[in-house]
Amino acid sequence: MSIFEYNGSAVVAMVGRNCFAIASDRRLGVQLQTIATDFQRISKIHDRVFIGLSGLATDVQTLYQRLVFRHKLYQLREERDMKPETFASLVSAILYEKRFGPYLCQPVIAGLGEDDKPFICTMDSIGAKELAKDFVVSGTASESLYGACEAMFKPDMEAEELFETISQALLSSVDRDCLSGWGGHVYVVTPTEVKERILKGRMD
């Protein structure tokens, strides 16, 4: 069994018109046993940048704490928040530093940049950035997510339609994956507000 399949995860981010959505499943398991159904995989770095981490849960939490620390140092020095592109470079550098003994997780970074332009990117576990203009996926359900997102995605969706699309893509993909699921956690971020919603899905 792969180390990424130890805890199970599914994270997806999509781009809309001046907004983005990032969603994850909520299961935390130890191989085939579920031990939590409310695990937080998506975390806020600041109001306009979110990071979702899939993979080994302990590294998810450690890496999140490290990144919050670095961002807070940045805020103290620069007296402003990090841009999403800068944050993505920071995550990539932190992951590549551990090239030969990596953190076993794959981040999905989503943010609103200059002029409210949405930015999403994902990385493998050693920091190879993969920018996309439409959607990015990560986790054990990634293959299903690729398929579902390709089929359901349309460019320039508004916030509500984007929420519907990303929720449908997430729920249908995790239904095809034993290791992820138990509902969903969706954040839809526009320049004016952040809407956090919990999805009810099949609890199996």
Binding site: M1, E97, K98, R99, F100, G101, Y103, D124, A128, E143
Partner: protein
Amino acid sequence: MRCYRHCWNNEARGNWITCWVGEKQNEIWRMRRDGEVFWVLADEFPVGDFVDEFPVGDFVDYGRRKKNCSFLLLLRFYFFPSSLTLQLPSSRKSSNQSRVVNRKMTQSSVDLPPKGGFSFDLCKRNDMLKQKGLKAPGFLKTGTTIVGLIFQDGVILGADTRATEGPIVADKNCEKIHYMAPNIYCCGAGTAADTEAVTDMVSSQLRLHRFQTGRDSRVITALTLLKKHLFSYQGHVSAALVLGGVDITGPHLHTIYPHGSTDTLPFATMGSGSLAAMAVFEAKYKEGLTRDEGIKLVAEAICSGIFNDLGSGSNVDICVITKVRLFIMV
């Protein structure tokens, strides 16, 4: 039995070690104020406390009662080999069951970002996970066909745009032609993180070199910097590169292999689609190609890789470098 460990988040070392008090609160307080670190290694210590604050694998046997706590000492030697001193405190001589390890906090750098270069502190934990049967992760590879050729006015580089993660296409349009200097570009195949990191790093070094010398960078400089780095990591940094550019001495094209060997060639291909592309070059290349002929040939070679090699696909990126101006076509 009492067991103390000191708590600090040592960003420079990348470790998390949590403290808790076995018995006396004020002893812990004194440790922090001095800035010194004390461990009392007891033969037995409480089970189960603070397990969730340790990353998996750092304290593998923590939580199980152990007769002999020397693994804690081993960890100290592992993390801080030079600064470890062992002292038996006079007040505790009577106790055979515990030893104090005294370390100066001032010798560890706390709260500083890492100094650069690779850090190996998760290797032990990842090896432990591998031994327990959990397979290592696969990295994003750029399956790839990358080519370069020299034509009469300069160099043309070409690459496909598919990035794979195992059998899945992770990125349908990734950029494999990396900027090194205004007159030098580099195509990368192999592990995506390695090609990006190594080209970024050498690009910065070239920039600094340009500031120092006040001259345009030469292709041979980039070549030497890349091959030195790759050789020193003995092929573990898995980046196969096609480096091309035009400098004061003329157009140059080189290939660099992950172990650090290089070739200087009039036309070159690398990556999983290299055989398909090389077949096209060998059949149709001639010296003194014009710009349009060169672009057509490079596009044909990449397409050959795209259609015949499963690891390459999507679009063709072409970069033409000449003495006067630089064109990038996507």
